[in-house]
Each structure stands twice: as C-alpha cells, then as structure tokens.
C-alpha cells in the first residue's frame, strides 16, 4: 500500500502548483525538484518489489515485478523530461513563438496527471481500470501534443485523439467480451475483470470468446502502441509535440501500451491460446519493424525520423511479447526509453538552435556544433542497436529467442529490417552531421555549450551503455529473469 501512496504526492503537487501558480516563474524548477523526489520515493518503494511474485493489495490494483520495473522506468523518463524541461522552456522563451506562462503551466498540469494515468495502466489488475487509464493517457497527453498551437500540431492532436479513441473503443469491446466469457465459466459466473482471477481460471473460459476478446484488445492497445497498420497517428503526434513531451510519449507511453499487450498476451497464453497470439501479434509486430524501416529511409524531418525509430522499437518489443520473452521485452524497453528520451531531448535543443527540423537544412552540423552533434549521433547509434549499447544485447536476445522457437520468418524479417533501419539511421545522421554545409550562418548557431541542456541526455546514454557493458546477467535477474 505504501508503494502506491508513495507515487502520488509529487505529481499531484505539481499539478496543483501548475494550476494555481500559473504566473510563477519557478514552476518548472519546482516541478523538476519534485520529480527528483518522486524518483527517490519510487526507488525506495518499488526497488524491493523487483523480482517478487504478483500480489494484489487493493481491489483492482496488483503489484508485481513486471509492474515495478515499468513504474520505475516511467518515473525516470518523466523525471528526466521534467529536469531537462527547465532549460528547454528557458530557451524556448527566446524563440519566435515563445510560449506563455499559461501554456507552460498547462504543460506541467497535464503532464503530471498523465503520469498518474500511466501508473494506473501499469498497476491495474482489472481490465476495466486498465482501459480507463489508457483512455485517460490519450486525453491528458493530447494537450501536450498541441503545445505549440500551430496548424500542424492541431492536425497531429486531432488525429491522435480520434484514432486512439476509436482504437481504444475496440479495446473496450474486447474487455467486454472477456467479461462475458468469465460469466460462462463455472468459477467466475458472476463475471470478473481481474487479470489474476481470469488467469487462474483461464482454462475454463470459452476459447472462442478468449480469442475474440484478445483480438479486439490487441486492436485497441496495439493502436496505442503504434503497431502496423494502426500507427498513422504516431509519427505526427511524436514529432509535433515539444521535446520533453515527445520524450515522455516515446519513452513511457508506448511502454504502457506494450505492458497492457503483455498482460493480455499472458492471459491468452494461460488460456491455452498461444496460437492466436502468434498468428496476430507476431505478424503485426514484424510488419511494424519493416514499415518503420522503410519510412526511415526516406524521412527528411529529424523528429519524424526519431518517431519512426520509436515505431521500429515498438515492433521489436511487440515481437518479444508475441514470443513470450519477458526479459527481451523488458531489456529492450529500458534501453529504448533511455536512448530515445536522450535523443529526443538533444533533437529538441537542435531545433531551438537552428530553427529547422529538416535534415537537409541541418547539413554540416558537426562543424557548427561538434559536441552536441557527436552526442546526438551516439544516441542515434544507441537507438539503432549498435554495440556496446544495451539495445544490441536486447535485440540479440529476442532474435535468439525467436530462433529457439523455430520461427525462421520472424528472425529473417527482423534481421533484414533491423539492418535496413540501421543503414537508414546511419545515412541520415551522417548526412546531417557531415554533408555539404547548408547552415547559413554557423556563428549564429554556435552558442555556449550549456551543460544544463545536455546533462540529462548524457546521463541516460551512460545508463544505456552501462546496461550493455556491465554484467547483463545480473541486470536480467533484476528484470525478472526467466523467459
């Protein structure tokens, strides 16, 4: 119980501050400090839960090792984004479209409530609560996407809200079907939405209804995760949001949807329906990676490039989920979140400095800003799964798991598209860094190498490096090991 209570004060306090003290200039600083405290509180309360079996504390809320890992990861991602946001918003005030205090206040208000909604999704043991939390994440993050108030961000927000809400509505139908299924089993005849109860009695549920429910839930939460062919909104929303919001969307919201997919796949497997998981989730996952790799090749916008790279990583993680490899999924999620948050924050800095997201207009960046460009390139290499960064190990683990399960088409599809994505990302980032100079006035772009603007990304990239180099086996044991 303390574990849950420990998560609430800081986000609620930030939301209250942002709501009532909109004129206060110190809101970003206070929010960063509070999120730092939140990190400490989450580590104190949730680190001991890593590696423990599932138990239910209140009706509808379950605590387990899997949830603990993602609570910690989500907290770290949001804290990183908030700490970086202090310098980001200071710099943003100097730009042409300087945000008002009210806009910044709204950002903090919605972002902190959004964090609570993500906790609800991760921790709920009840499919109904999970759905409510998931829809709440869409509604609460929409204002973050619309932060810039431009026509482009408006279009992205509209698509995001509409496509995700319709997708999620299908997810609710899946939830209702599973509830109906539980009423037809002997033990749960009054009906249950509890994941624990459904899993325990999974074998008594009518198999046809479990399959139907799973497919609709996959459509719902798959939309939210950005799985092909339900991904249209993802590159728009992730690229039009301001950098800290892009970082939260890519680094933690996608994880929440994937955790939900893990939970329902686990339920379907417990009901003896692994066949339907393999026949639906796995092809969608592999096609997601392939589609993302193809879009990476021809992308000219740096933030859209990163968004498609998120989609590629979602595909990899969904493959791990479809195969039932928790350790592969968890390792990839941690690494992807760390690197992608770092890269989105760095790209945000670039955008502020150069005023463009177009890769062609950013050519010759290395000479203009050597330090930051090198960091960004390292980050992109980490995201693409280059050793010695942790994502290489994670992807390797997932591939070998697929090979063990005798799934040649999964292995072939993943290897081909991972290679293609790697080449695309390398080409694009080299084009940007070297290329013929197109930045008109490099002296204008060259500014003080502000430590505050790169501190968070550097720490996150070091974290991913550590995961790749230091004793992966003990890390795996902490992540829940096993499969």
């Amino acid at each position: 119980m303390t574990a849950i209570v420990a998560l609430l004060p800081a986000p609620l306090l930030i939301a209250a501050l942002a709501l009532f003290a909109t004129r206060l200039r110190v809101v970003p600083v206070l929010a960063a400090i509070l999120m730092g405290i939140q990190c400490a509180a989450a580590a104190w309360a949730w680190f001991p839960i890593l590696g423990t079996p599932r138990r239910q504390i209140v009706e509808g809320i379950g605590i387990d090792s899997h949830g603990a890992l993602f609570v910690l990861l989500t907290t770290i991602v949001v804290a990183a984004a908030f700490v970086h946001a202090v310098a980001f918003f200071e710099r943003e005030k100097l730009s042409e479209h300087a945000p008002s205090h009210r806009q910044i206040g709204q950002f903090y208000f919605f972002a902190s409530l959004f964090l609570i909604a993500m906790y609800v999704v991760i921790l709920s043991d009840n499919l109904g609560y999970m759905w409510i939390g998931m829809e709440a994440t869409t509604l609460l993050s929409a204002p973050l996407v619309y932060f810039h108030r431009s026509s482009r961000s408006l279009e992205a927000t509209w698509k995001y809200v509409l496509i995700c809400s319709v997708g999620i509505a299908f997810g609710f139908f899946g939830t209702a079907v599973l509830y109906a299924a539980s009423q037809q089993s002997g033990a749960l005849h009054v009906g249950s939405l509890s994941l624990a109860a459904l899993t325990t009695h999974a074998r008594q549920l009518p198999p046809g209804m479990v399959r139907l429910g799973f497919v609709f839930l996959l459509l719902g939460y798959g939309t939210k995760a950005g799985l092909f062919p339900l991904h249209n909104w993802l590159p728009d929303a992730h690229s039009e949001a301001p950098a800290p919001a892009s970082a939260i969307l890519s680094g933690s919201l996608l994880n929440c949807a994937l955790v939900a997919l893990w939970r329902i796949s686990d339920l379907a497997r417990a009901a003896g329906q692994q066949q339907v998981v393999r026949a639906t989730l796995l092809p969608m996952a592999v096609l997601t990676v392939i589609t993302a790799a193809l879009f990476l090749l021809r992308q000219r916008d740096i933030k859209r490039l990163l968004a498609y790279s998120s989609m590629e990583n979602v595909g990899i993680m969904a493959t791990a989920i479809g195969l039932g490899s928790w350790s592969g999924f968890a390792l990839q999620a941690v690494n992807h979140s760390f690197c992608k948050v770092a890269v989105f924050l760095l790209a945000g800095n670039l955008l502020q400095q150069c005023g463009t997201k177009n890769i062609r207009d950013l050519r010759g960046l290395l000479t203009a800003q050597p330090g930051r460009t090198l960091l960004l390139m390292l980050g992109i290499a980490a995201v693409a799964g280059t050793p010695p960064f942790g994502s290489f190990l994670a992807e390797w683990r997932i591939l070998s798991f697929a090979a063990d399960k005798h799934m040649p088409w999964v292995v072939a599809g993943l290897v081909l598209s991972l290679a293609m994505a790697f080449i695309a990302l390398a080409m694009q980032s080299l084009d940007m860094a070297l290329g013929n100079k197109t930045i008109k006035d490099p002296t204008n772009v060259r500014t003080r190498f502000a430590v505050s603007l790169v501190l968070v990304p550097v720490i996150l990239l070091l974290g991913s490096l550590a995961l790749g180099v230091l004793l992966p086996s003990s890390v795996l044991a902490l992540l829940g090991g096993g499969r």
Partner: protein, 211 residues
C-alpha cells in the same frame, strides 16, 4: 414484458436509429438522433436493472440518459451552432447509397452470423452498431460527425455490455462514461480550433502531415 423480449426490441430500436443516422446529412438532426439512441439505451439499462434487482444498473442507466442522452448532444449542438455547420455533405457516395450499403452490411451480419461460437445471436445488434458507427466515421467529412460516429460505435459496445447476464462493475461503467465525456469535450474544443485555423471543420482538409 420479459427481459429477453425487452432487450430484443430495445436493441432493434437503437439499431434502427443508427441506420437512420446514416441517411441524415443535417448535423443537428443526427445529434438529436444520437441523443435519442443513448436515451433508449439508458432506459433499457434502467429497466433491466429493475428486472434483475440490480440497483447499480439503474444508476448507470440514469447516468447514461443524463450524460450521453442530454449533456453530450447538447454540448455538440452548441458547438455546431457556434461553428455554423448545418449539413455534412460527406464523401462522394450519396446518402441513399450509403444507407442501402449499411442496410446490406447489417443483413449480411444477420445472415452469415460470424464467430457463432463467441457471439450469441443476441449480441449481433451491438456488432451492427459498431459497424454503423464506423460507416458514419468513414463517410462524413466534418469533425463533429466524426465525433458522432465514434459515439455511435461506443453505444454499440454499451449495448453489448448490458446484454450480458451480469453487467460490468459500476466503477468501470462510470469511469468509461467519464472518459467518453471528457473525450467529447476535448474533441469539441479541438473542433473550435480547427475551424479557426482552417476556416472549416472539414477534416479532409487536414493533410499537412504525411510520410
């Protein structure tokens, strides 16, 4: 009137209203029809709650009538009035053709009865409503009609949940209702912004972001 009979005729009424909406291009009329459909669903929930002696279901029914039957359509009517949108001319298919297409699709669902093992005959109307909601979303151009399509789809799911012997826990039902309402509020606000930015709420004009 027995439980089964009531449920059957109630579902029939809601599906017919949904089908009617396909042929309607006037925005205020389709909003009124949506409100009526939700109110019928709310009444069904209340009646079933009384029959099964489940007081919570009665409360859910009252909430549905108040929020989805009155509040949501009233709010959207206000938005439509302010944005001065009266008609949604839709995509290139003429409304009568859309109507016959939808009718044909419903007939196919009834005759073919897909997924027989998982979906009893009594849940076919809700599947039909899901389909009608999607047809509304696909064939309309205005942001408001898209919201209405989503709401019809959501009504279809509600019809499915009250058709089960035991309805969902009230916390879940009310939570879902709140989420849907918040979504309608947000979408309405976005419609205002879209009309200011693009000088219409034709969502086919939103095509700046691609690739």
């Amino acid at each position: 009137m027995g439980e089964f009979h009531l449920f059957e005729s109630g579902s029939a009424v809601t599906v017919i209203i949904g089908l009617w909406m396909i042929g309607i291009t006037r925005v205020p009329t389709s909003l009124t029809l949506y409100g009526t459909q939700s109110a019928v669903l709310g009444l069904m929930a209340m009646y079933l709650g009384v029959l099964r002696a489940e007081p919570l279901l009665v409360i859910v029914g009252v909430a549905v009538i108040a929020l989805k039957g009155i509040a949501a359509p009233a709010y959207l009517l206000f938005v439509a009035h302010r944005l001065d949108c009266r008609r949604d001319d839709g995509v290139s298919i003429a409304p009568p053709l859309q109507f016959f297409g939808a009718l044909g699709a419903l007939a196919l669902i009834l005759l073919l009865h897909p997924l027989r093992a998982a979906l009893p005959e009594s849940s076919l109307p809700s599947i039909g409503m899901l389909l009608l909601g999607m047809i509304v979303m696909i064939t309309r151009r205005l942001a408001i009609s898209q919201i209405v399509g989503f709401l019809v789809l959501e009504n279809g799911i509600f019809l499915y949940t009250i058709g089960q012997p035991h309805t969902m826990p009230i916390v879940v039902e009310i939570g879902v209702l709140m989420d849907v309402l918040a979504g309608v509020m947000l979408a309405g606000l976005l419609a205002f912004r879209i009309s200011r930015e693009f000088e219409s709420i034709d969502v086919t004009e939103l095509k700046e972001l691609r690739g």
